[in-house]
Structures are given as structure tokens and as C-alpha cells.
């Protein structure tokens, strides 16, 4: 316990200190920066909600929504079989399990923005690389969460199905699927929320959505408009989250 604590403090100091291997964290610098007059904070004080009514922001929001809807649905659909294979119970054999598990770990270790960078390099800018990036991101999230659920299901129906001579696919269909369906639906909706939030930043690497608009106003130094768009985005995210929370409660 004490050893662990010392290690923890040591790690924090090593990572935070201002030396060759530290990030040079300093509270005074933060205080100085925040108290100095600066453009983003001045913009926040005179936030311009009028930016939301322009066609630029409207198209951005629409694109963000379209991207999130498509990629969540496509990603969640493909994640269901992968989730089955990603659990010891559902995989037809050890080899499939090992391959799917490795693939899923790699997919999940690559952050959404990095996917976007890769796809922008592959097919150039626009909504398509954004959709593809969110698709892979959703695939990783939903597969992982759902396969964790499969590990915790009741084994009674599985044994019953096997005892009455069900084949492996039949067992999955009638013993496993009914048990995980509510959780799976709930994870898919959670993933939609994540995608909506993520699609706000994909625009910074050219992958479409409302992020493109935020990046445009930032490039122009119009921070009042940046914060206007961010505020609008905030409202959209919170509203969607509320609706989704109600629906998810009904499902579980």
C-alpha cells in the first residue's frame, strides 16, 4: 500500500516536472494564462448565437447528424456477430476467438480522430472519411461492451439448448441472443451519443461535420462565433442524451 503510494507520487512528479522526460506542468503558468486577456475568453464573453442561424452552421449540424446516424447503425449491425465471436461462449472455435479478440483490441486502441486521419489520407476530405472513422470506432465500442455482456449471461438456457440438440448457430440464436438484445440495443444508442460528440472534432482533420465549421471560425479568429456554434452543439448533445437515456431505461 505504502509502496504503491510512493510509486504513484513518483510517477506523477516524473511525468509533471519540467525536465527532459516531463511535460513541464506548472500551476503558475495556468494562472498567468487564464488571467491574461486572450482572444478565446473575450469571444466567450461576447458569444454570438447568431452564428447558429447561418446556412454554414445548419449544413454542419445536418452533416454531423447524418454521419452519426449512419455510422452508428452500420457499426452496431456488424458489431453483433463480432461480439458473439469475441466471447469464449459464442465463438465457434479458439482460432476465431483469438483472431477476433486481437482485431478488436487493435481497432479499439486507435482513437476516432486517428481513424479520420487515416481515411482522409486514403480518400481525401469530406463526410466519407468521417463516416468510415466513426464506423470503425463504433465497431470497437459496441463489440467490446456486448461481448462483456455475453460473458456474464445465464448459462441455463445455453445448456438447455445444447442438451436438446441445438447446433451452435441455433444455440446462439435462441439461448444467447434473447439475453443480450436489450443490453446490445442500449450500447448501440450509447454509441450513437459518442459518435455525435466525436463528429464535432472530426472536422479538425477535414473529415466533415460541424467540426469543419468550428475549425473555420477558429481559423478566422472569430471566437464569438466558435462559442456560438459550440453552445448550439452542446444543446443538441444534451437533448439527444436525454432522449436516449429515457429510451434506454425503457429497454433494460
Amino acid at each position: 500500500m505504502i509502496g504503491g503510494l510512493i510509486g504513484l507520487v513518483g510517477f506523477t512528479v516524473a511525468a509533471g516536472a519540467d525536465w527532459r522526460y516531463g511535460i513541464g506542468f506548472s500551476v503558475t503558468e495556468i494562472w498567468d494564462g487564464l488571467t491574461r486577456s486572450n482572444a478565446p475568453m473575450r469571444g466567450l464573453a461576447e458569444i454570438d448565437l447568431g452564428a447558429l442561424t447561418g446556412s454554414r452552421a445548419r449544413d454542419g449540424f445536418l452533416e454531423t447528424l447524418q454521419m452519426a446516424v449512419m455510422s452508428s447503425i452500420a457499426g452496431a449491425l456488424i458489431a453483433l456477430p463480432l461480439a458473439l465471436f469475441n466471447s469464449k461462449l459464442g465463438a465457434p472455435n479458439r482460432a476465431v476467438y483469438a483472431v477476433v479478440k486481437l482485431l478488436n483490441n487493435v481497432i479499439r486502441a486507435i482513437p476516432d480522430l486517428l481513424w479520420a486521419l487515416l481515411f482522409v489520407a486514403a480518400v481525401s476530405i469530406g463526410a466519407l472519411p468521417g463516416i468510415l472513422a466513426l464506423f470503425f470506432f463504433s465497431l470497437g465500442v459496441v463489440t467490446k461492451l456486448t461481448s462483456d455482456t455475453i460473458d456474464g449471461i445465464d448459462h441455463g438456457p445455453v445448456e438447455a439448448a445444447r442438451a436438446s440438440g441445438a447446433s451452435h448457430p441455433q444455440m446462439l440464436r435462441f439461448a444467447v441472443l434473447p439475453q443480450i438484445l436489450p443490453a446490445y440495443t442500449s450500447f448501440s444508442m450509447y454509441c450513437f451519443e459518442l459518435n455525435l460528440r466525436a463528429s464535432a472534432v472530426l472536422g479538425f482533420v477535414g473529415a466533415g461535420g460541424i467540426g469543419t465549421v468550428i475549425d473555420f471560425y477558429r481559423g478566422q479568429g472569430q471566437w464569438d462565433r466558435v462559442w456560438g456554434v459550440v453552445a448550439g452543439f452542446l444543446v443538441v448533445v444534451i437533448v439527444v442524451e436525454r432522449i436516449s437515456a429515457v429510451l434506454r431505461k425503457r429497454l433494460l
Partner: protein
């Protein structure tokens, strides 16, 4: 009534019996229609230039070939260095968030604080939760300049919302017995929190801090894309300038380090939640 008579009646009943009709599930139909319609509507209306889609697998294969075809070990020290910076940003950012969110969590828990405090604090925690780290980072770069400090503060601020909300929920889920006991023994509110609530909730809250650290590593790995320090800068620049080999090396380092830290942190979290093994106490 004879035995055969009973048998006949039973057979008749069995013959006439029909399977009860399955109740029609309106909810499922609505969801299916909404999902299909949403997907079709979005895919047809979005301006994605779908004709590029068939090229994607080929292009991606091409890029992966260039990335991992001729890896150069000379890039490794650079990649490890920047990844360490990302880990540092994630760790210090998580520490900031933990320190900021800890008091807020108690203010947002219904069983500890009053109504007004709960409502106000919850709204306060909702705002950073909805804003992605990158947006914080781009707003902080003009203030702190390009570099890890902007990224650290961005991670810290945006994690405060999530950690605060989850911690408040953990506090609300704690057992009421000790609180009543402390109250009955004449404990003041701070004493109540210190001796009845904190011992119950600390393991779970610390485990969540660690989990958030894992999430933040992924976030800090990309913060460099906008110039807020860490390995993202290396990734973004090597991809932009088509130096595929060093992009590949950076990608490998990100994936491996992320998976390794996930595993280590996961083991520590399970140990914290489970508590010390009985054998270790003897």
C-alpha cells in the same frame, strides 16, 4: 367416467388447442422502421460522394503497406518519447480532474447535499461532459501556446464532468446504515462524509479515476493533431507529409502502449475493487 373416455376428451382438447398468438410488438416494429428509415435517409441525403467508397479498401491496403512495409527502427526513440508525453498529459490531466471533481461529486450527490446544490452542480458537470477534449484544446492553445500544457488542462477540464457525475452516482449508491449511525452519534456533516461515506465509496471512485486515465490516453494521443502536445503531432505531420514509415511506427507505438496500459490499469482496478486477498492479511 371410464379411462378411455378421459383419454378421448384429452385427445379432443389437444386437437382443438391452438398455440396462443404472439402479442404483436409495436415497440419493436417502431424501432426497426426508425432505424431503417434513419439509415436510408441519412445515407441518401449526406454529401459523402459514395463513388469513392469502392476505392477505400485498396487505398487503405496501400497505405498500410507503405506504413508497415519498411519500418525504420530509427523512428522508435522519437515515437516512444512523444508517446510518453501523451501518457504524462493523460496522467496529469486525470489528476487535475480527480482533484476538481472530488468535492463537486459530494455537492452533486442527493444523499449528502441539498436540492439546490445538487441541481446547480449537476448542470455545471454536464457542460464539460458534452464538449470534446479537442474543442477545449483548440480554445486553450491561444492561451497557453502550443504544447503539452494546453492538452493537459483540456483533458483535466473535460474529464471533470464525467468523473464528477459518475462519482456522485457512486456516492448516491452507498449504504445508508453507517450514515445514520454517524448522524445518531452526533457527527457533523463533514464528519459524516469523512467517516461514513468516504470509506464506502473510495475504492470505486479511485477505480473510476484509473479507468478514466485509460480513456484519456486515447484522447491525449490525438490532441497533438491540433498542436496540444503528445504523439498526435508526430502522427499528423508524418501522415500529412506522406512519411508513411514514421507514421507506421507511431501508430504501432500508440496501439501497443495503449493496450499495455489498459491491461496494467485493468489489473490494478480489479485489485482495488476486490480488496486485499484474505491470505495476504495473515
Amino acid at each position: 367416467m371410464s379411462g378411455t373416455e378421459t383419454q378421448r376428451v384429452a385427445d379432443e382438447r389437444f386437437r382443438d388447442a391452438v398455440r396462443p398468438e404472439k402479442p404483436f410488438n409495436w415497440f419493436r416494429l417502431t424501432v426497426t422502421v426508425a432505424v431503417v428509415a434513419g439509415f436510408l435517409g441519412a445515407s441518401l441525403s449526406v454529401d459523402a460522394r459514395w463513388e469513392r467508397l469502392p476505392e477505400v479498401p485498396g487505398e487503405l491496403w496501400n497505405i498500410f503497406g507503405l506504413m508497415f512495409g519498411d519500418l525504420d527502427l530509427a523512428d522508435l526513440p522519437d515515437a516512444l518519447d512523444s508517446m510518453w508525453e501523451s501518457v504524462g498529459i493523460a496522467w496529469i490531466g486525470t489528476m487535475i480532474a480527480a482533484a476538481l471533481s472530488f468535492p463537486l461529486a459530494f455537492l452533486a450527490a442527493r444523499n449528502v447535499s441539498g436540492r439546490v446544490s445538487v441541481v446547480v452542480t449537476r448542470q455545471l458537470l454536464n457542460i464539460p461532459r458534452a464538449i470534446p477534449e479537442i474543442i477545449f484544446a483548440v480554445a486553450l492553445i491561444p492561451i497557453f501556446g502550443l504544447g503539452p500544457l494546453a492538452g493537459t488542462v483540456a483533458i483535466g477540464l473535460s474529464s471533470t464532468g464525467t468523473i464528477g457525475k459518475l462519482s456522485a452516482e457512486i456516492i448516491e449508491g452507498c449504504d445508508h446504515g453507517p450514515m445514520e449511525a454517524a448522524d445518531a452519534a452526533g457527527g457533523s456533516k463533514p464528519q459524516l462524509v469523512r467517516w461514513a461515506v468516504m470509506p464506502q465509496v473510495m475504492p470505486e471512485i479511485i477505480a473510476f479515476w484509473l479507468y478514466r486515465f485509460e480513456v484519456n490516453i486515447r484522447a491525449s494521443a490525438v490532441l497533438g493533431v491540433v498542436g496540444a502536445g503528445g504523439i498526435g503531432t508526430m502522427l499528423q505531420q508524418s501522415i500529412e507529409f506522406r512519411q508513411w514509415a514514421s507514421a507506421g511506427m507511431a501508430l504501432i507505438v500508440v496501439v501497443l502502449v495503449t493496450i499495455l496500459i489498459d491491461m496494467a490499469s485493468g489489473a490494478i482496478r480489479r485489485r482495488i475493487i476486490r480488496g486485499p486477498r484474505p491470505a495476504a492479511q495473515t
